[in-house]
């Protein structure tokens, strides 16, 4: 099946099987391996991307169903090279040590950005509740929560 959609701002056209998952399309066909697959059972949140600006789990969406829509992955966040080019949320994770192994980080970032857009003045409690769908095996979450709060503040200061 031929579909076309916007991926990180650029138009893409692919010919795929209906049974292909969006996570598989991104990683295996389009070589965007920033989107991770942790559980493949919609539990861990490592595969979270944005579909029309909302965070969703790409392991639980058929690639054909994004036809005509807009997809953003972690690769689409930075606006330039180096630390200076990072998205404010990425930079907040960098500055607040919001990752260890980094496996959960792409999903955390995509989820956190969706959160920050909807919560201009978030509380720690709101961050923790929102991150219910993102599992991290390393950090114990403290620095992730700190990063999300800092990133949200930076995003709203910038806008």
């Amino acid at each position: 099946m031929k579909i076309s959609f916007k991926l990180n701002g650029k138009p893409v056209e692919v010919d795929i099987e209906p049974s292909l998952l969006l996570s598989e399309l991104l990683r295996d066909k389009l070589d965007l391996t920033g989107t991770h697959v942790g559980c493949d059972t919609s539990q861990c949140g490592a595969c979270v991307i944005h579909l029309d600006d909302e965070s969703v789990k790409s392991c639980t969406i058929l690639a054909v169903s994004v036809d005509g829509r807009s997809v953003t992955t972690v690769e689409g966040l930075a606006s330039g090279e180096g630390v200076d080019g990072l998205h404010p949320m990425q930079r907040a994770f960098h500055e607040n040590h919001g990752l260890q192994c980094g496996f959960c980080t792409p999903g955390m970032l995509m989820s956190a950005i969706d959160f920050a857009k909807r919560h201009p003045k978030p509380t720690e409690q709101e961050v923790r509740q929102w991150l219910e769908g993102n599992i991290c095996r390393c950090t114990g979450y403290q620095n992730i929560v700190r990063s999300v709060l800092a990133g949200a503040a930076a995003m709203h200061a910038a806008s």
Binding site: P18, S42, E54, S55, K57, V64, S65
Partner: protein, 268 residues
Amino acid sequence: MRSFAYDRPATMDRAVALLSGGQAMPLAGGMTLLPTMKLRLSAPEALVDLSSVPELKGISSDGKTLTIGAMTRHIDVARAPEVTKAIPGLARLAGRIGDPQVRNRGTLGGSLANNDPAADYPAAALGLGATLITSKREIAADDFFRGMFETALEPGELLTAVRFPIPRAAGYAKFPHPASRFALVGVFVARFADGVRVAVTGAGPGVFRCPPLEARLAEDFVPEAVAGYAADPKTLNSDIHAEAAFRAHLIGVMARRAVAAALQPTAA
């Protein structure tokens, strides 16, 4: 996943026609269907993606009833002013299903058609005495749920919308499974001019009403009215998450909290 044919109709008529043979399955948010297909618990020959059928989405209220389209997502029910105004307990229930990414995809119709014995929406539909509107007929919630993952829907029958009577007060409380947020036990209470309805999810093989609690609360709709109520554990689930005796106890606790929430609809 086994291969299958895929269609995304743009109208209700076309969706119903594609499903009419009974071979194709509707795809809503996919949050349940796709995982079961990955596990090969389900291997449909064809999927009919309902996401582009405009008639299946949306929320409207006429003051007496609140009508919600089957493809309305959990996040939209949680946020809609029509819902928070008419039945705040229903908006809060939707806002606590799973996690944000599940709520961004999962739909009212998918949840009800799936009838997971630990799902939240079946408790609201049964507790409010909703009417389920399908491509063929209207079904009262009391007749719709048929035990674990079973409903009155026939093959090829599409759930199109749900009509919820607006109660005087309604509340929901659940003891969430700490990982999935599904209900270990969830209780929905609704008070109408002519009585009280109580629906319990998560505790048994399917959602069920609880006449003894309905009678007590009809007399006095206060949390204390539930005090000392002991459900019979014999018909309840025992599994690695909780024993039947614990679930029986939780029914009373969740019912009390649900009544308290119904009386204080603006509290979190």
